[in-house]
C-alpha cells in the first residue's frame, strides 16, 4: 500500500466513524418518533418465565386476595394489572380497562396503596377487575420487576408470563400486542 493510500484510509476513518454514529442517531430518533425505540425502557427478564412466588391479601370487602398458586392453576389467560389510587395515568386507564375486561379477565394488584383508598378507587365507576389483591409494601411488585404503575402482564394458562406492558393499557394495545400473543399461544398448544 502506498503512503498516500494509507494516509487516505487513515483520514477517512473519522468521517466513517462519525457517519456510523450519525446513522445510529437517525434510527434512534426515528424509532423514538414511531415508538419502536425507547431509550428509557427496562427489559423485563420475567418474560416467558413462570410467575414469581407470592401471596397477597385481598382488599376489604372485595373478596380474597390471590397468589402465585392461584395464577398457576388458571385454565384461561389473564391480564394482571398493577395500579394505585395515587397514580394519575391509572385513573386515565380505568375506562379502557373496563372495555378490555369484557374481552379478557383482568386481575389487579394495588401497589403501595392504602387498602381503603384502593377500594374507593376501584369501585368508583365499577371495578374492571375480576379479583384484586393488595401489595402494600411493594415488595411483590419488585419480584415482578415492576418499576412504576400502571404496569401489566399477560399470564397464560399454567402461569407463564407472555407479555409485559409498561404503559397504560388501551384497546389499541390489546389489538396490537396482546391479541397476537394470545393467538400465538393458542396455535402453539
Amino acid at each position: 500500500m502506498s503512503e498516500l493510500t494509507r494516509r487516505r484510509l487513515m483520514t477517512a476513518l473519522p468521517i466513517i466513524g462519525a457517519g456510523a454514529l450519525g446513522v445510529g442517531f437517525w434510527k434512534m430518533l426515528g424509532g423514538m418518533g414511531s415508538g419502536n425505540f425507547d431509550p428509557h425502557a427496562v427489559n423485563a427478564p420475567i418474560l416467558n418465565r413462570p410467575v414469581p412466588d407470592f401471596s397477597l391479601p385481598g382488599l376489604p370487602g372485595m373478596g380474597d386476595g390471590f397468589g402465585s398458586d392461584t395464577l398457576k392453576a388458571l385454565t384461561q389467560p389473564v391480564l394482571l394489572n398493577f395500579f394505585a389510587s395515587w397514580c394519575i395515568p391509572c385513573v386515565a386507564e380505568m375506562p379502557e380497562l373496563r372495555e378490555i375486561g369484557k374481552r379478557i379477565p383482568i386481575w389487579g394488584i394495588a401497589y403501595k396503596d392504602k387498602p381503603e383508598d384502593s377500594v374507593r378507587f376501584v369501585q368508583r365507576d365499577g371495578s374492571p377487575y375480576q379479583r384484586v389483591a393488595s401489595d402494600r409494601s411493594g415488595l411483590t411488585a419488585i419480584d415482578w420487576g415492576v418499576t412504576g404503575v400502571p404496569e401489566s402482564f399477560l399470564i397464560l394458562p399454567g402461569g407463564r408470563i407472555a407479555w409485559h406492558g409498561t404503559a397504560a393499557l388501551s384497546m389499541d394495545t390489546l389489538h396490537t400486542e396482546i391479541q397476537p400473543r394470545l393467538s400465538a399461544a393458542e396455535a402453539g398448544k
Binding site: 427489559n43 411493594g138 419480584d143
Partner: protein, 153 residues
C-alpha cells in the same frame, strides 16, 4: 411517578432533590454490614430516575430496593447473590457496571483498544520518521547534477 405525564421542564431539572437515605431507621445497626449494603447499593441503578444509584436516589422504589438490599445483607448473602437477585428481577439494566458479555465486549475492551491504537499509531509514525523520506523530483535532479559535477573524474 414514572408514568406521570412529562412536565414542561427548564434547562435542567434534577429529578430528585437531595436526600437519598432519608430515614436512619433504614440503616443496618451493624456498621460493617451497612457499609457493604451501601457499596452494593452504589452498584445498582435506580430504575425510575436516570443514572443514579439507589443509594443516591430519593425515589420510592429506590428506597424499597435499599431496604431489600439491607435485608439480604443482614441475612448473610454474598454480594454476588444479591446482584443476581436484582438482575433476575430487573435485568442487566439494574447494574451500573455491566457484566462482560458478547454485547459488552467492546465497552470493556475500549480502554485497552484505544491505548493500543494510540501507541501503534505513534510507533508507525516514529518508525517512518527514521527512514529517510524519498527524494523529491527536484532533489533527485540536484543529486544528479552534483554527481555529474564530482563523479566524472
Amino acid at each position: 411517578m414514572k408514568r406521570a405525564p412529562a412536565l414542561a421542564l427548564g434547562l435542567v431539572l434534577i429529578a430528585t432533590p437531595a436526600f437519598a437515605v432519608d430515614d436512619p431507621s433504614e440503616m443496618l445497626p451493624n456498621k460493617q454490614q451497612e457499609q457493604r449494603a451501601e457499596a452494593i447499593g452504589a452498584q445498582l441503578r435506580c430504575l425510575v430516575c436516570q443514572n443514579e444509584s439507589i443509594e443516591d436516589s430519593s425515589a420510592d422504589l429506590a428506597r424499597d430496593l435499599r431496604h431489600v438490599v439491607r435485608e439480604h445483607v443482614a441475612r448473610g448473602e454474598s454480594d454476588r447473590q444479591i446482584m443476581a437477585w436484582m438482575t433476575a428481577r430487573y435485568g442487566e439494566f439494574v447494574r451500573l457496571k455491566p457484566r462482560l458479555s458478547v454485547g459488552t465486549v467492546m465497552l470493556w475492551a475500549m480502554p485497552v483498544l484505544a491505548l493500543l491504537a494510540g501507541l501503534a499509531a505513534a510507533a508507525t509514525m516514529l518508525r517512518r520518521r527514521h527512514e529517510a523520506p524519498p527524494l523529491s523530483e527536484e532533489e533527485r535532479r540536484r543529486v544528479a547534477e552534483l554527481s555529474n559535477a564530482t563523479g566524472q573524474d
